[in-house]
Amino acid sequence: MGDKEMLRTEHLSLVREGRHILKDISLSVAAGSVHSVLGSNAAGKSSLAAALMGCHDYAPTSGSIFFLNTDITNLSISQRAKMGLTLAWQEPARFEGLTVGDYVTVGNGADRIMRAREALAKVLLTPEEYLLRPVDKTLSGGERKRIELAGVFAMKPRLAILDEPDSGIDILALDNIVQLIRELKERGTTVLLITHREEVAEIADRSSLICSGCIVKEGNPPEVGRYFREKCVPCVTKTCETGERHQNEESVP
């Protein structure tokens, strides 16, 4: 891992419909690394991903986002993507009339078919079987997730935000996805891996723990994973503000 910084947020906050979704998040993702963001359901993980990508309704209320030291806080999704940032959605959209081949290579110019074939093979989908299928409701959730990841692979981004790539897929596919993440890294793509599973988070080089919109702990993945398992999982309120005030801790004399 190099020391260069790929992504940085400074005091990033997001309020939606009167609720504080993200609170003062300052995060640094090193270039060439896999950085996991671990957290329970509704901790703010997907909102963080959407804010970083620049999605509608996720514009930060305050704070800044820097990508390769350029302030991208006010850039559109397309502009961010053209700089090399992309997002694989937790629940990918479906498209009537668009084929898997078209979708996987959308935005790519040369060698589209070859890139689509290679990317589909990486996620263990037979290109001959999938290239001409529509990206619609005829695909299972697991197939759609893999196609989403294939699209990221084909794009060759500088930074891939993978929002829960492990959700909704079987255990065999999970091994494949872990392998794909490693391959992305080897190929030079920095990965921001969002997950609620500590064993997945632990494949990263560095990990951040998010709870109720705050980064409550950062460090090496096993350490963060242990903290998550021992403190966050048993926690009832899930309303941690600083990482120091878990309900189960407070109840201990």
Binding site: W89, G151, M155
Partner: protein, 312 residues
């Protein structure tokens, strides 16, 4: 006449047709300009008669019992001048066990004041299979009125499919009315895809009655309107026999100041019948657009791709 024929072929190609196919002796075809037949060819097993009348043209198409026409029959209807009228009365009879696939291209590339009316009576016999695909090409002036009407009767264990597409050029004023009856074990699928802009006015009324045991019906529409265009889609599907199943599926996308309305009506008159519907009217799905933007497409291109896919 030859000049008209060549110009029709050119317009036919613009509409997505393949002119070479009209020169293939194994393919049946009929080319009608205004209310005149300017080209035709019949392959074995098909009876296709066209009679020019003062009020329009009568086309009678019969496929004899048990005959399945191997290759699609091509129809090309059009009006090339800026002004004109076309009135087509079609009588289609598929006798029991027969099969026919029709590909129709309707071309009005220069229309400023053109009216095209097609009234079809379609009988699909027991065990027969009928497919009708109609593609329109209208040019950019919007001065065309298109009035397709069809009454369809489908026998037992038969298949019926119609697919209407108006995606190139201005829709103008489009007023579709199809009405179908479906008997035992038969299936029907009616699809309409239209892209309207400018001051286009689109009304689609498709109705089907699933009268037979185990009959199936799908009414599907995909409409996109922008500018000042408006669309109204009436989909009416009823089932009244045991095991009859139907579904109405309507999506209308609106951009700018256009307006769209969907009126799905579903009903059953038998406790073992079921009809469902889904209708979505509104802007392009934001998540779809953002997903494509995250791959580097500009917003406008992403919207075009979503709409283009839906209308494909």
């Amino acid at each position: 006449m030859t000049q008209d024929y060549e110009r029709m072929l050119a317009a036919y190609a613009q509409a997505g047709g393949t002119p070479e196919v009209l020169k293939d002796s194994t393919v049946s075809h009929l080319v009608v300009h205004g209310n005149k037949v300017i080209g035709s060819h019949l392959a074995d097993g098909l009876i296709l008669e066209a009679e020019e009348r003062e009020s329009g043209i009568l086309v009678r198409l019969v496929v004899k019992k048990g005959v399945r026409i191997a290759r699609p029959v091509h129809l090309c209807f059009g009006v090339l001048p800026e002004e004109g009228e076309q009135e087509i009365l079609m009588q289609v009879e598929l006798q029991d066990g027969s099969g026919l696939e029709l590909l129709a291209h309707c071309v009005f590339p220069n229309a400023v004041k053109v009216r095209h009316r097609m009234t079809a009576e379609i009988e699909v016999g027991n065990g027969a299979s009928y497919s009708y695909k109609e593609v329109h090409f209208h040019g950019e002036k919007g001065g065309v009125v298109v009035i397709p009407r069809a009454r369809i009767r489908i026998g037992n264990e038969a298949r019926f499919l119609t697919d209407f597409a108006l995606l190139h050029g201005r829709a103008g004023r489009l007023d579709i009315e199809y009405d179908a009856e479906v008997r035992d074990g038969s299936s029907l699928q009616m699809t309409a895809k239209v892209y309207g802009f400018g001051a286009d006015w689109i009304r689609i009324r498709e109705a089907a009655r699933l009268l037979g045991k185990g009959s199936r019906g799908l009414i599907k529409s995909r409409i996109a309107v922008r500018g000042e265009a408006s669309s109204q889609v009436f989909s009416d599907l009823t089932a009244s026999a045991p095991g009859a199943r139907g579904h109405v599926d309507c999506v209308e996308i609106v951009q700018g100041r256009a307006d769209a309305k969907a009126f799905p009506t579903v009903g059953v008159t038998h406790e073992l019948a079921k009809v469902t519907h889904e209708a979505a009217v509104g802007r392009v799905d934001q998540k779809q657009v953002e997903t494509l933007m995250a791959r580097g497409l500009e917003e406008e291109r992403a919207i075009d791709l979503v709409i283009g896919g839906m209308l494909k």
